[in-house]
Amino acid sequence: MQSTSLTVNGNAVSVTAHGDTPLLDVLRNHLGLVGTKFGCGQEQCGCCMVLVDGRPEKSCGKPLSTMAGKAIVTIEGLGTPDRPHALQQAFLDEQAGQCGYCLAGILISAKALLDRNPSPSRAEIAAALDDNICRCGSHVRILRAVERAARLMRKGAAQ
């Protein structure tokens, strides 16, 4: 057991757990942030995507020992019903989802994309989401929603 300090959604936290505990388990079981989902535990599906120092990473494969001092952003850190992130608003506007289990990871991947590329093409959005599996077939709506969010964010930035 060891104590590891990191930042989650802007809050400094200290977690006491084995160093090889996956970041996903730290978030869900130690910190009670269950918005980030378990999908495969093999870094193949993207359900557990979070931002680590701004980069999209699959939290199921990131041991706690490598997270010391890192800044993590989860779906809970994106926005709230009162103050939704442009992506969350756009996903609601486009009704982009069915079961919704994959959405937390997809929203995080999309945020990472829009943070580095405010005007992505449809193909660039699709490529950025290729690590995320959606099985209900909401893809087309999700692609539209990310395009809409990009427009919202550009408009917001221009004002």
Binding site: A17, H18, D20, T21, P22, D25, N29, G32, L33, V34, G35, T36, K37, F38, G39, C40, G41, Q42, Q44, C45, C47, T74, I75, E76, L78, G79, T80, P81, P84, Q88, F91, L92, Q95, G97, Q98, C99, G100, Y101, C102, L103, A104, L107, A123, I125, A126, A127, L129, D130, N132, I133, C134, R135, C136, G137, S138, H139, V140, R141, I142, L143
Partner: protein
Amino acid sequence: MSASLTLPALLASNPRLDQWVGFSTRGRVTVSTGRVEIGQGVLTAMLQIAAEELDVAPERILLQTGDTDLTPNEGYTAGSQSIQFGGVALRMACADVRALFLDHAAANFGYTRADLAVRDGAITLRGEPTGHDYWSLAAAVDLRRDATGQALTKSVRDYSVVGQSAPRVDLAAKVFGEPVFAHDVVLDGMVHARVVRQPRRGAAIASIDEAALRRAAKGPIEIMRHGNFIAILGADETVVEAVAAVAPNHVVWDGVDPINPFQEEARWLLQQPSIDRTIGPPPPSEPTPGTTRHEATYTRMHVAHASVAPSCGLALYRDGRLTVWTHSQGVYPLRDALVRTLKLDPAAISVKHVQGPGCYGHNGADDAAADAAVIAFLTPGKPVKVRWRRDEEFGFEPVSPAMVTTARATLDASGRPVDWTTEIWSGRHSSRPGGGGNLLAAEALPDPPPHPPAVEGGYPPGAGTRNGEPLYDFPAKRIVHHLIAETPVRTSSLRGLGATLNVFAIEGLIDELAERAGEDPLAYRLSILSDVRARAVVEHVARISGWQAGLPSGTGRGRGIAFARYKNMAAYAAVVAEIEVEESVRLNRVWCAADAGLVVNPDGAINQLEGGIIHAASWALKEGVRLDGTGISSRDWENYPVLRFSEVPEVTVELVDPGADRPCLGVGEASGGPTVAAIGNAVAHALGARLRDLPLTRERIMAALLRA
């Protein structure tokens, strides 16, 4: 307004009105439905139906769903039947409730009944407020009575909520990462558990290396063994998961019957003993002079549900009562199966639905819930959470059976069928719990239940036989069905059941016949299709896709069209697919036109049709379960590839309004078969050679090109 004197079946079996509607909180309406949210958006549609028929704002409604303590027993949420049947029952119940309140107001306050109406829960007299509403009269109007079916339901012309696109009531919580899934449920003092699965049905534990399991544990664990049921329990999920991952290496099993890995391809079915039957007239004994015959055989591998996450169940057994939380499609049937497994009284078991990852049929959800129930039963007082591992879900969920379908036509001089046979070889498409057994945990316990016999549902709608009968105008049609009782892996229902391959085969052969006749596939179809609604969707999809006759084949680019009415009794759907082929298929665009009768939530229906198209495109191009000598070997997303974002086509879906007050028709599975078939037809058009074995992978394309 229209009156119905016979009750909808689900209202007849759940007649008490207080099972459906309640007004116990002022300003709120509690509406119960046995239907559960499995990703399809049914909650929103049910809410719209209730709001419409009760005349209350949708925001006032609290929905209770899938709970053996609270909601009607509607069996399974499956088969695209929720709106078509469950919605009809809910609508009638709500109409009855509304009528009871108006009858009461008329009888007690001297109003003329015909002058009364409801506006957002308030009773009005010729449009003016009366001061009475559902809540003020709730104590006086006893809903502990049976539905009569005599109330007038609203006319479609008066609808203001049903028929309008409504945002999904469940989506916001998911977009903000709120805890909505079974996987997110945390119970006080909960232990996490994983099961070490029997590799095959009937396998018996020879030895367990408990010392090795304990060495693999970085914290306290408990090893539970009961019969051939083994579980690892512990307070720390990380510890339990790590032990479970290596546990199969430390248990030796007896009685593991090997399987033949070649059975991953479907043609082995042709050599198996089968239960046979013919639906329709017997085949003609003599060939009719002047006719010719043409047939082709189409196959499909086993297909996984492959939900985006593995299944999860929770349970607590305390003071002689068992409570189970599950994302099963049927809380009542699961309760019945647990009654038999645990020898408990039905009244001692509560099963409650909690949402899970998208569900397309009988996946691991019931088994995970049963795992939790068994472990909880053996550790009274302790809440138990079982979340399957990814490889466990791939390896042990029931899969959709491999199938072979031969479509066979006798053609007249114009090349049109005068006789049609669809001959089907398939394992069982249903092995749900509730019918006795069919729970993995139960099979591992001492005194396991007998293996339930393979059954095929009655036709229509059929299971393996589903959509085996083309809707085209052929003078004689029949289905010859061979039900294969023994399959190498457990099989059960997946979205579309047999319709997926049957529509692929039928619509493939129709294209082959059009080509033989030297006619365009669209024109050929319309020449043999008199069903008005069917023609409307086919013509509509041709129009929106800009269908052109006579485009050359074999150019590497292709278009295909296909049509089916799901089950021949649910929604009509016609699909056009546009593809390119080099070494593999690139699906560029898909258009779909569908007629679902009265549509409760148009955007919800379109979302379902779109989802069905992309799901089916993944089946058509990618999905097939791999086997090795012990069972399913495709146990991760690399070995079971599915369509990814950069591979999805542009999709256009339009609803075709049938133009009159038509009943609702289920849409959830309507677009799958036509999509697979349209892609198959487009690939044949692009290659100038037909591939009849799914999935249409790069390897199969290359092999076809080499043969050509």
